[in-house]
Amino acid sequence: MYKILLSIIILSSNTVLAMDGMHDHGSHNHKDHQAEKYYVDGSKTKITDKMFSTFSAGLSNTQIVIVDVQGMVCDFCARGIEKTFNDDKDVKKVQVNLEKGKVLIAYAMNKKVDLDEIKNIFLSNGQTATGIIVRKV
């Protein structure tokens, strides 16, 4: 059993550097940064009109950030994300959709939305943001 335990640790250590969102930014080269920018490209991030209108009902003068998330398969996975955004005074509303793997965040219009900051919030909660777009209402 000790051999099995040791093997698992070695296998995992070899793969940990390749994990999404858990890498050391200090060790990146320029090519890596280009890939990272593409990584959060929101060109494929879409939601249905019904989902958007339901979320944005009653909101005005608002920026709605739509985030595609990987690894958000249960309530516990998303709980920290919701709590973090709800603690932000500029956030008006947060909604998690497990089925679609999306999080919608409504910011005040005067808030300067920083996509890298949003991506890092997901990373700091152990999730991976793969696409982010911003729509205004």
Partner: protein
């Protein structure tokens, strides 16, 4: 054990099994309180997660098998996490020391892989105490009969099989897991023993 058998065993551990402690690390800055009771012991465990990669905590154990009570200082480290659109897999290292004696400690590995429909976990823990050294192995496999949305009541129908080197036999029994919001409850029964796990996060 030959290399081939070791490799197959590792594959089985990684792909067929899952985690025994249902998310042993919380979100960054999150705290967790757990209560667990089974045929061997009951415990109260609090842990804090400075980041999503590790947790530190203390666990009070009422060991019914050895008629003993003590506190474990415990840490868990997320060795690897793999997120995909439909799944999440985790591999954790855990370890700790007991306040009972300076030669009492434990260490182990546990992992999980889950989608919204399927859950699997495993754990292997080696415990060294002033009375006896032993290991515990546990596997869980579960299916969600329906897919709940965020904040719904989530239900899992599961099977657990476990073995420790004290009893030295595998025990397999069904249990159910419920969670809603910040609360989780697992309830199972094997012969006349209840197996209960309650968890609250904040």
């Amino acid at each position: 054990m030959g290399i081939y058998n070791t490799f197959i065993t590792i594959l089985l551990l990684i792909t067929v099994s899952e985690l025994a402690f249902s998310r042993p690390i919380s979100w960054s800055g999150g705290s967790t309180i757990m209560y667990q009771s089974n045929s061997m012991y009951s415990s109260y465990y609090y842990h804090y997660s400075p980041t999503y990669k590790y947790s530190v905590g203390a666990e009070y154990i009422n060991d019914r098998h050895f008629n003993d009570q003590y506190v474990n200082l415990k840490t868990t480290y997320l060795l690897n996490r793999k997120n995909t659109k439909a799944s999440q897999g985790n591999l954790y290292l855990t370890g700790g020391i007991s306040t009972k004696s300076k030669d009492s400690f434990f260490y182990g590995v546990h992992g999980d892989w889950e989608t919204r429909r399927v859950f699997t976990s495993f754990s292997y823990i080696n415990k060294r105490t002033h009375k006896k050294n032993y290991t515990e192995n546990e596997f869980k496999l579960g299916v969600a009969p329906y897919l709940g949305e965020y904040n719904d009541l989530h239900t899992w129908v599961m099977v657990k099989t476990k073995k420790d080197t004290i009893k030295n036999n595998w025990e397999t029994y069904p249990f159910v897991k419920f969670f809603k919001g910040d609360y989780l409850l697992e309830v199972g029964a094997k012969n006349s023993h209840w197996d209960i796990h309650y968890m609250f996060r904040f």
